[in-house]
Amino acid sequence: MPILDYITVSFLVIPLIILVLNNLFSKQFVERINFKLVGVVAILQMALAVAGFSLLSAAHWEDYRFSLLWDWTMEEAGYFAVNSLSLVFLFCIGFVLLVAVLVAKATVEQRKTAFVNLVLTLLLGMNGMVMVRDLFSLYVFLEIVGISSFVLVALFQLETGLEGAFKYLVMSSLATVFILTGLAFVFMQTGSLQYAQAWADWLSVQGTAQLYTYLAFILLISGFALKTGVVPFHSWLPDAHQSANTAVSILLSGIVIKVAGIYGFIVLTKLFPGFPPVALALRILGLLSIVVGALFALRQTHFKRLVAYSSVSQMGYILLGLSSGTTLGFLGAMVHIFNHATFKSTLFTNAAALSAQAGTLELGELGGLEKKMPVTGFSSITAFLSTAGIPPLAGFWSKLLIIMALWKSEAEGFAAVALLASILTAAYFLRLQKKVFFGQLPEKFGAVTEIGGSVKFAELMLSAVNIAVGVGFPLILLFFEGRGLL
């Protein structure tokens, strides 16, 4: 089907073309249009992902292979491929990118060309990551994502940004060492790193060679855990996400940790289904993240830092969903990935609005802004209710699916703790709401007004998505059932 060829290739070619265009013309000209161009790229990516998804499911194909300028039908040639999983990820990437660009219009005032360049390389890296079919290529694109993220955090060369970027870089390079060492052991025993290779043989290895298998698993899991920022590998995450420009924080928290980290876990669990140690490791990491992340979030005094710790906590739910090893849990994790992208983007967009209008993000200084900034307050409350899993908002459904999957796969204890941890989530967000939007309005905020323009639009759009997904979720469940997934 040649149309799918065009669709799939454009996920890589369009960002490359825009990247070239962005550097081809004079700075004055480019800076007038490049944010709009990135916005168009984001919308196009969402549309193409939807189109590709419908074509793929209409044709009942498992995946669709393609290449850029080479013949992948050659013997042993490498290839890119899309399947429904990568298309869902591509949609989420486009969605978060759109929000980030809307916010960046308000928050990025200098170095626009460099910002757009880096966002595009980040986009290329993430799109590549979900479309490769080889563990080593996964690592290559993972590094592209990593390098772009470090430089994006350090972009404005403020003390905090540079510090966050350096910590992120050090932790990421440790993760690289872990992942590559793990891959070396996998490669040693299989002779290839392609997903399609017969991995089951490798798992049936007996004797002392089994030690290498377990070593590889430990290394790969800790590597991806470092990239995701789950407890106890989370030390870099709040620093990087707090110190970055808010538009960059949206990208990092909304999608980068999921593509760079969670997608790696998905590949591992897909490649080795029903391998108990992996499931157990994911469960323990997930549970630790949920509880410890929420406890840390409770005592934060900076808006963005609190939201970053909330990301750590929510990643735990996704890992728990993946650990169940069932379709139900996997669906729950995927829906939670999208929902988390929505509500985390909302909260960071609120942070952008607050810092633009009130000039600070310290919780101690803020207060009583509900009347002054009604849209920000409202979108913040929808995001908070969704994160805490209050029906009928989107977050409730994904958490429900995850907890049901855990219950069914006989991990009742984990399910119960995940359920109870929702109270912690509600607690830290209630504290946030109380400190920022309720209570006494400090005098210096008397003249604060609601933010306008693209940020307001992003807030309204995200709240609408949040509510619409929540209210319309039964339809999505029907769609899953129709495809025989439930």
Partner: protein, 163 residues
């Protein structure tokens, strides 16, 4: 051939540990270059000629140049250096850690009777590196191109004076 590998491995380990332990940054960077060159030697001996070339020219050469220029940018008083960074004190434990780790690993290897049978490369002798890199790893080549683009953007951003 075996002797060269043993020797290079030894040099690599010693140079690597020295790179970590030496209090002077310049010497440390040079020790890193030596470790890198030793690795290049191992790669060459084992038949990875192109990888050896890259390792020696890029890692041993370019990275050292980058490090030395970064070090010279940040030149503080030579007498002050060890006092400020306390490398001697902070790194003092490393040899013991390594010896303990080494003894443990050797003991495990001997006890479990590990073997890593080196396979005959004859089956793959026909597939030259060029063939592999250009016919099987096109995805990686695209990845490398994008990595280099990212690197170029990063250098422009990071080394530009404040505007």
């Amino acid at each position: 051939m075996d002797a060269v590998i043993y020797l290079s491995l030894g040099v690599m380990l010693v140079a690597g540990v020295m790179a970590v332990m030496l209090p002077s940054m310049t010497k440390s960077a040079i020790a890193l270059a030596v470790a890198s060159a030793a690795l290049g030697m191992i790669l060459y001996e084992l038949g990875g000629i192109w990888a050896a070339l890259f390792e020696i020219s890029v890692c041993s050469g370019l990275v050292t140049v980058i490090l030395i220029s970064a070090i010279s940018l940040s030149n503080i008083d030579k007498e002050e250096l060890p006092k400020v960074y306390e490398d001697k004190k902070r790194m003092a434990l490393l040899p013991y850690v390594l010896i303990a780790g080494g003894v443990m690993l050797v003991a495990v290897a001997l006890w479990a009777g590990f073997t890593l049978p080196v396979a005959d490369q004859a089956a793959n002798l026909g597939t030259y590196l060029r063939g592999i890199l250009w016919n099987n790893r096109q995805v990686d080549i695209w990845g490398q191109i994008i990595v280099l683009l990212t690197g170029a953007v990063a250098v422009v951003v990071l080394f530009r004076e404040r505007d």
